[in-house]
Symmetry: C2
Subunit: 345 residues, 2 copies
């Protein structure tokens, strides 16, 4: 019952020819090395019949190529990252690569494990949304000349290929939009992270706030504890600061938590509280009211990442200059979460 997997050696033996010949034929080198059409066809036919599939483990050991790309994201369940994953997978599939995902949970240890795991298995390249404290690991990859693209966030002190959104601008515009709608006490709900994307969003928020001489309210919560404590923290913020009239959320999952808090407090959006989210979410247009969001151009970002990585893989030797791509965010304005002016009118 249990069939042993047939190897190239078996094929060669069955046809009474050398392993080398079979290998050449299977790799389409018949012409190049001068193997007769007759034999080529015979081998191909036999391979077809036996259903022989080369052992890619062995192949990779020999060649050092796996035709696999590793994509490390925060969480496969997060709609932003899931969408990126979808695009990147599709694009790489088109180029003959398989793609493998890993959820880092934004934890350095977990990311490190995944990097090691896949590096040991010789993936041909990495696309990573790095957690904090991963500088050393990233540097290692760079030193080993493993193709690498960072996205969403990066390290200022390490020069890598990377693709990010203009987080500063996006956040600034979001807060400005709230201000334009006459909101004056705007809090930023974000996570306690020094990662560039969150830092830039914070800076964008602060810029807009200070530009209009408003008072900043900032809540930074622990990423790992969002699921447990976010609703409560936001509830506290709102009860302790009844003057707050708008919330700008640093990420879409925080927005969902915030909406729950608002709901539980029996406050209304946008009348009592204006809401804008950084990062869009499928359900934002379904919720009542629907939620305005700063959206990242995910399709475009994905394309850029894929191109950067393929460039690195294809460049044989010559030193290639690292490239940084920054794409602008777009505002998905859905009035019903922020129409204070019309509301009051």
């Amino acid at each position: 019952m249990k069939k042993k997997r047939v190897s190239i050696k078996d094929i060669a033996a069955q046809l009474n020819i050398s392993i080398t010949t079979v290998s050449f034929i299977l790799n389409g080198k018949s012409k190049e090395v001068g193997i007769s059409t007759a034999l080529t066809e015979k081998v191909l036919k036999h391979v077809e019949e036996t259903g022989y599939k080369p052992n890619l483990l062995a192949k990779s050991l020999r060649t050092g190529k796996t035709k696999i790309i590793c994509l490390l994201i925060e969480n496969i369940a997060d709609p932003f990252f899931a969408t990126v994953a979808g695009y990147v997978e599709e694009l790489f599939n088109q180029r003959g690569y398989k793609i493998i995902f890993g959820s880092t949970k934004n934890q350095a240890a977990k990311t490190r494990e995944l990097i090691d795991l896949f590096r040991d298995r010789h993936v041909d390249g990495f696309i990573i949304a790095p957690s904090e404290k991963l500088e050393a690991d990233i540097t290692n990859l760079l030193n080993e000349s493993i193709p690498l693209v960072l996205f969403d966030r990066y390290y200022k002190e390490i020069e890598t290929d990377r693709v990010t959104t203009d987080n500063y601008e996006g956040a600034y515009n979001a807060v400005k939009l709230l201000i334009d709608q006459d909101y004056r006490n705007i809090a930023l709900i974000t996570i306690d992270s020094e990662q560039t994307q969150m830092h830039d969003r914070l800076l964008g928020y602060e810029k807009a706030i200070s530009e209009y001489g408003l008072k900043p309210y900032t809540v930074k919560m622990n990423y790992q504890k969002v699921e447990q404590t976010a609703v409560e923290e936001i509830t506290q913020l709102l009860t302790q600061n009844p003057d707050i009239d708008a919330l700008f959320f640093g990420t879409n999952y925080l927005t969902l938590k915030g909406l729950q808090a608002i709901e539980e407090l029996n406050l209304s959006v946008p009348g009592d509280i204006g809401v804008i989210s950084f990062d869009d979410h499928d359900v934002f247009k379904l919720l009542k009211p629907n939620i305005t969001a700063v959206a990242q151009p995910i399709a475009k970002m994905s394309e850029e990442m894929v191109n950067l990585l393929l460039e690195q893989i294809d460049v044989t030797k010559a030193e290639r200059t690292k490239r940084q791509v920054v794409v602008p965010s777009t505002m998905h304005v859905r009035d019903s979460s922020i129409k204070k002016i019309n509301h009051n009118a």
Copy 2:
């Protein structure tokens, strides 16, 4: 700059001992094969210093073990599957396995590709939510004695380990709940699939409908086209059959589409239309009204899957009887999507 990865051979050469010795030491066999403590420590120290990491590709080629499990699900972006993925990953990590995900998009060709890809790389086992037309591939895995657990759906004609929800019962109860709430023209919105999970949900629906002598309305839509056409199809159903007063959705993503259709038609839930979803969704409790759902006990299912697979991996030789686990679903009743009786009262 570009460091060559150090191999066991390098380690052996540097210490002037044999490769075998190094291998034994690294695999903790010092005692067993009688290698002196002095040498053992010396090697371990040197390995530590050089930062040598064994090449798992080579190791796997030799041993046929990878300590990797492959989980194939419909779509990493789907909340049901994403949650399963999260649990399964966690459980396997605890047991020293890494887990690799693949999105099948419920397409046989894509699933086949993924199975082949990972089988070639000798993953130690598969957990699969199989698409249709995959019987031959599953049978192959079975013949090759590759550890395998199916979940969510299965093939009646193939005996495998599997874990599923009681879809029939769940659907029956959902429809019955609508009937109890005085809804009388209840449509089933499902996908055009003969897969067991969808088939059983259909049967459960039909059972309840016929038990009360009601008229069935069933819309089956193409899974691949849900994103494009679902809203329109549901809109049509509702406009062409104004007597319909409740919708039972076969999956949570269909529910989201249905709610969009209902919204666009300016109908209200639960007054005009009662709604129950098969499979829960994080946002169902956020939506207004919040949506009642038949929930699968994902944590428990995940545990069962992991246990079944580990059993297979651990069983050395003796024929093990395949096991089928069916877990009951639970109803997450959220009155506001179905409270017709109270509403009219």
